[in-house]
Structure formats: C-alpha cells, structure tokens
Symmetry: C2
Subunit: 169 residues, 2 copies
C-alpha cells in the first residue's frame, strides 16, 4: 500500500525532497511576519470571493479572519518562525483538522490556483522563495487529498444491516 | 463543540501552555540526538514486551525498529532539532497517522505509563526536561484520543440500506 507521502508525491508531481526544501532556508527570517499575513489575507480574499460556488462553499462555515490567522500562524511556525500556531491551537494535525472538509483532487487544484495568484500578488516574496513555497503547498495539498481518502475507508466497513450478503431465502 | 485541544487539556489535566513549554527551551540542543534514540528504544522495548496483551497487540503490525525511528525523529524535530521526520516521511499529521490504531483513554494511559518508566530509565534527562516532556506527551496522548473519537462520527452517517427509517408498508 502506498504511504500518504508517496501518494502526495505522485499526485502533486513534487518529490518529498523538493517539498521540504523549505527546511533548508529560513523563509520566516527572510520574509518576515507581515509578508505571511499579507499572503494569507490575499489568499482567503480570493477564496471567499471565488466565482466557483462549490469551492467557496467548502469555507462557508469558517470565519474568514480565523481562516487567515490559522493559515499564517501555521506557515510561520512551519517555515522557521515562532510556534504561533501551537501556542494557540496545539498540534497542526493537518489531516485531522481537515477532516470536516472534502479535500478532493479538484479542491486541491483550486486551492493551489488561488495560492499561486496570492503569491504572485505579494511583491515582497522573491522568485526562489515562491518556488519553494509552491512546492511545499502543492505536495501538502495532495498529502491532504491522500488523507481525505482515509475517511472513505470506514464506508468499506460492512453495514450492520448486512445487505451486502445475499439475503437467506 | 469542544476543540481537539480543549479536550486534550481537560482529559490530560495539562494546560495548552504547559504542554507547549517545550517550545521555550531547545530540548534537542540540551539533550542531544543519542538521548532521544535511547528514550525511544527504552520506550518501545517496554511496549513490545508489555505483559498487557491488549496494549502490545496495538503494535503487532509495526516493526519495532521502525516504530523507534519514527518516534525519535518526530521528537527531535518537534523539540528543536533538525526536521528528520519530515525529510523522510513528510508531515507528522499526528491524528491522520494514528488512524489505524485504537487510541482510547486506556491506551493513552498505558502509553504514558511506559513513557514515564522510559524517561526515568534515561539518566541523561534532567528533572526539569522530564517534566516538560511528560506534559507534552500527556497532552498529546489525549489530543490523539480526541482525534480518535472523530473516526466514530462516520458511524453516525445513516446506513444506505436505510433501516433507521421505518420501512414503507
């Protein structure tokens, strides 16, 4: 059976090494807190205004301001800055915390489309950092698609009403 | 609805702040790689030899050497050292990766019992570091119990064979 990270690499086209290149430089020190706040604000402004209703609806039960804070605090923590996310919310637990959302291949691609646009709109981010961040985001998005598919395993548990067996006649 | 981290604090008796005190010192720099390897080796030697069969069986499909490596690489990465875990396996995704295992309250307490013994058996770890680590472990163990309970939500989804509705007569 393929592991989560193997599926993430195959589906994203980003190798494990390229995805975690972010750990070989300190992007937080390079870019600073405000850049991460700008990126997440830009990203969620696009998401909450998305013309694609199916995608916009995924976020309908989340407050925009909270989504922004969750995201930039996680990025800051994961890219070399202080552990803002864990101080407030504990473990990132990326798969567990995405459980309420339908993280499909299509949703991952739409998320990445908005993130690419958001990155392009934040001029403080240099081209090299942008490439590293997109590799991390792309691999992570498909890691979450792989995590989402675990949810469906429960549906394979035989229903207790037992209709999958032919009824005894 | 209580969040994962609120449940973790309530059930463990460890506040969010105390659990993440580990981020206010660099335990990896203080203790060094070999101490973490010793701790995880000590821990899993106890687990794989546990006289409680129900607990030992949780690990029956995992190789001991791999369990040791997964654990110390995660601890090293989370406690201020190089991101050994992510380089090899990607995101820790603690809840997602514990999905195959029945992380009950009882299992959390047994895990913590062995970890306390393992910590006490590694003389290089000073009392203050031990306290910080146990707070982190205790909170995290119950965070995973809270994560485990999410799995049962699917069981609330009506079975497609529809026996919860009275049959039309």
């Amino acid at each position: 059976m393929q592991s989560l990270q193997e599926k993430a690499s195959e589906w994203s086209g980003v190798s494990q090494n390229d995805a975690f290149e972010i750990d070989n430089t300190n992007l937080f020190q390079k870019l600073g807190l405000q850049t991460f706040i700008n990126l997440s604000t830009n990203f969620y402004t696009r998401v909450y205004d998305d013309e694609e209703e199916w995608f916009r609806l995924i976020f309908a039960n989340s407050k925009k301001e909270e989504a922004i804070q969750n995201q930039y605090e996680f990025f800051v923590q994961r890219m070399g800055g202080p552990p803002l996310y864990s101080q407030r919310k504990g473990h990132p637990a990326l798969i567990g915390r995405h459980r309420p959302f339908p993280v499909t291949h299509q949703a991952a691609e739409r998320w990445l489309h908005h993130m690419q646009q958001a990155l392009d709109g934040v001029t403080e981010i240099d081209a090299d950092s942008k490439t590293k961040m997109m590799n991390f985001f792309r691999h992570t998005a498909f890691f979450l698609v792989a995590g989402d598919e675990l949810k469906n395993r429960n549906q394979g548990v035989p229903c207790k009403h037992g209709a999958s067996k032919p009824a005894a006649v």
